[in-house]
């Protein structure tokens, strides 16, 4: 009994340490274009962590999370291309995204369920259409020649340095999320996802909390967008298609909403799978449309299968399976020692 209690946290801890070590070593071990896939994976995971919190804890589906990514990227690019210090751009990106989310959230968060999902999608379509028409934002061509990020004299020049920057951003975001969901407001959020009326009557300030989570998740997306702008070096409306926002939802659904681990698992699984399919699709003898066809088919199939057959997502389902297996091997412990899936959220990478 004593052994099994001691063994369980270590299983989670070992996973966390392994993932963390692998994440830190990856930029050194990977070569060439693999590093850029890794950077984009980390940025996606940063966005997905926020969306997972929004979907899993506040129970709100956003089909337009890419719009905050876009706002972050444009903010960073505008500041950097106007001769202001680039670190200011990186700081301003999440602030601008969170600020705009707070403004937009006032009317939008009155909506729920499919209406909110649709409204966020509409916001992104409007934003894309407007961004393509603005002179100062470079129109459809976008903003070219964004300078490299420079913080306190250190220039982020290589792929590896951006990989560490993105890793740092992801760690920061995971830490914030972990503390938010473990706090008293976090419990309030979980309550309002089930029933807003019940939560409100037990003293949860429902509108304020929904606003806060919406802005926070937008801030994450803005931060990731800012790093993206410096890493890629240009931003254009075409870089932020609606499909990307759907992709984030797929990642959350596949990984499991409401846990940091789920966000990481979803982002990693989808990014690697799409990369693999891209490699298959561009092999000799494949038709030109193959990569597109394959990626659409896989998005669709994964989304359908995970929603129908793994409704809780990859990470929580695997954890539950592991728990069941472990429980079978040892004598049944007291009920209080069975962890809820949310406990998994407590381990950041």
């Amino acid at each position: 009994m004593k052994r099994s209690l001691a063994a369980r946290p270590s299983a989670g801890l070992v996973t966390a340490v392994v993932v963390a070590v692998a994440a830190v070593l990856a930029p050194v071990l990977l070569q060439g274009s693999q590093v850029s896939v890794y950077v984009l994976l980390l940025l996606a995971a940063t966005v997905v962590t926020g969306l997972s919190m929004l979907m899993g804890y506040a129970g709100q589906v956003s089909l337009g999370q890419g719009s905050f990514y876009l706002i972050g990227a444009y903010t960073a690019a505008l500041i950097a291309t106007h001769g202001m210090p680039t670190w200011l751009g990186l700081l301003a990106a999440p602030v601008a995204a969170a600020g705009i989310a707070a403004l937009v959230g006032v009317p939008l968060l009155r909506l729920r369920g499919h209406q909110l999902a649709f409204a966020t999608l509409a916001i992104q379509l409007i934003l894309l259409s407007l961004a393509g028409r603005q002179e100062w934002a470079g129109g459809d061509i976008g903003l070219q020649g964004v300078p490299r990020l420079e913080i306190a004299g250190y220039e982020f020049a290589g792929d590896a340095s951006y990989a560490y920057l993105a890793l740092g951003a992801l760690a920061l975001v995971a830490l914030i999320t972990r503390n938010v969901v473990a706090s008293r407001p976090g419990r309030g959020l979980r309550a309002l996802a089930t029933s807003e009326v019940a939560a409100a009557s037990s003293g949860v300030p429902v509108p304020a909390y929904k606003q806060a989570v919406f802005s926070l998740s937008a801030g994450y997306a803005g931060l990731a967008g800012g790093i993206y702008a410096f890493y890629i070096g240009y931003v254009a409306p075409g870089s932020f298609p609606v499909l990307q926002s759907f992709e984030y939802v797929v990642m959350v659904a596949v990984g499991g909403a409401g846990t940091v681990w789920g966000a990481l698992a979803g982002a990693t699984a989808i990014t690697l799978l799409i990369q693999l399919l891209n490699n298959v699709g561009t092999m000799d003898g494949m038709p030109a449309a193959a990569p597109t066809v394959l990626s659409y088919a896989v998005y669709g199939a994964l989304l359908i299968l995970s929603v129908l057959f793994l409704p809780r997502g990859l990470a929580p389902s695997v954890a539950a399976w592991w728990e069941r297996r472990a429980a079978r091997r040892r004598p049944p412990p007291g009920d209080s020692s069975v962890p809820s899936p949310h406990d998994l959220a407590g381990t950041p990478s």
Binding site: R110, Y296, G300
Partner: protein, 287 residues
């Protein structure tokens, strides 16, 4: 003045297309509580199929009807996958229909390609008071009017239609009197497919369709349907006509690229306005 009439009539024609799409959304949502994101895909499938059948030598009319039937079958299939598994919540089913939309992208690119396609509809144009209006526009308006009249008769006068309405208002009571709610859901999806397909077949000659046209179609259809709270086809028709005319006016007098922005902003305003008139308690009770 002639320009105004031209924009007005083409707006009404496009609006009628949106209305057919929106009525499909409404039928499916009424019976199953599912918001069907694949509704725009039905129109795309029907439009592309009709084009292929016509170029394969089928006569007009037959090809279009066959394409609508294909869309109806697609609707049935979507319904089977999205609601066939017991215990799927409407919000999960929404995400499933989104996934089916992606799968359809893959199939559409394989069967056709990723370029916009069109086919010749009712050729020629008529001149009324100096305004040159395509005859296809009139065809869209007439067909939409007939379909809406048929829908009204179907829901008001036939047993099947009444059974569908019964499922919509109280699934438990419907089951108690012996109505198979699951089968009614599938019929609603098939009917949604037919309505979406009709929109696609009618609109393709007016505006070429490609695999990803469904996003714009569904946004417009949803904008129209949401006006009636996704339950009242008549209000959806009014919404669709307003939307179509507003878009045509913006495109005609201002700039074409702003027409979606106008439609979306209109939809957001209406949704937020409607939400502010309902309390949270009412909304959760309605779930």
């Amino acid at each position: 003045m002639s320009a105004f009439l031209e924009y007005l009539l083409s707006g009404i024609a496009v609006g009628c297309g949106f209305a057919l799409l929106a009525s499909g959304l409404v039928v499916i949502h009424r019976v199953t509580q599912v918001v069907n994101f694949a509704q725009g895909m039905f129109a795309v499938v029907a439009g592309l199929t009709a084009g292929s059948l016509l170029s394969a030598g089928l006569p007009h009319g037959v090809a279009e009807l066959a394409a609508v039937a294909v869309a109806g079958l697609t609707g049935l299939l979507v319904g089977l996958i999205a609601t066939g598994r017991p215990g799927t919540s409407p919000l999960s089913a929404l995400i499933v229909t989104l996934g089916l939309g992606f799968l359809a992208y893959a199939i559409e690119i394989m069967v056709w390609d990723d370029n916009p396609h069109s086919f010749a509809g009712l050729g020629g144009a008529v001149t009324i008071a100096g305004a040159r209006i395509q005859r296809q526009s009139f065809l869209v308006i007439v067909v939409a009017a007939v379909v809406f009249a048929l829908l009204a008769v179907f829901f008001g006068r036939t047993y099947l239609g009444k059974a569908l309405s019964a499922c919509a208002s109280n699934p438990y009571a419907a089951r108690a009197v012996g109505i198979d709610v699951t089968r009614m859901g599938l019929i609603a999806f098939a009917l949604g497919g037919v309505l979406g397909g009709a929109a696609g077949v009618l609109l393709t000659p007016l505006q070429p369709i490609s695999y990803n046209s469904d996003v714009l179609l569904i946004t417009n259809g949803f904008a129209a349907a949401v006006l009636g709270g996704l339950t009242r086809p008549g209000v959806a028709l009014a919404g669709a006509l307003t939307l179509g005319v507003a878009e045509a006016m913006v495109a005609g007098y201002y700039e074409a690229s702003y027409q979606t922005v106008v439609a979306l902003a209109l939809m957001l305003t209406i949704m937020v306005w409607r939400a502010s008139r309902r309390t949270t308690l009412q909304e959760e009770a309605a779930r």
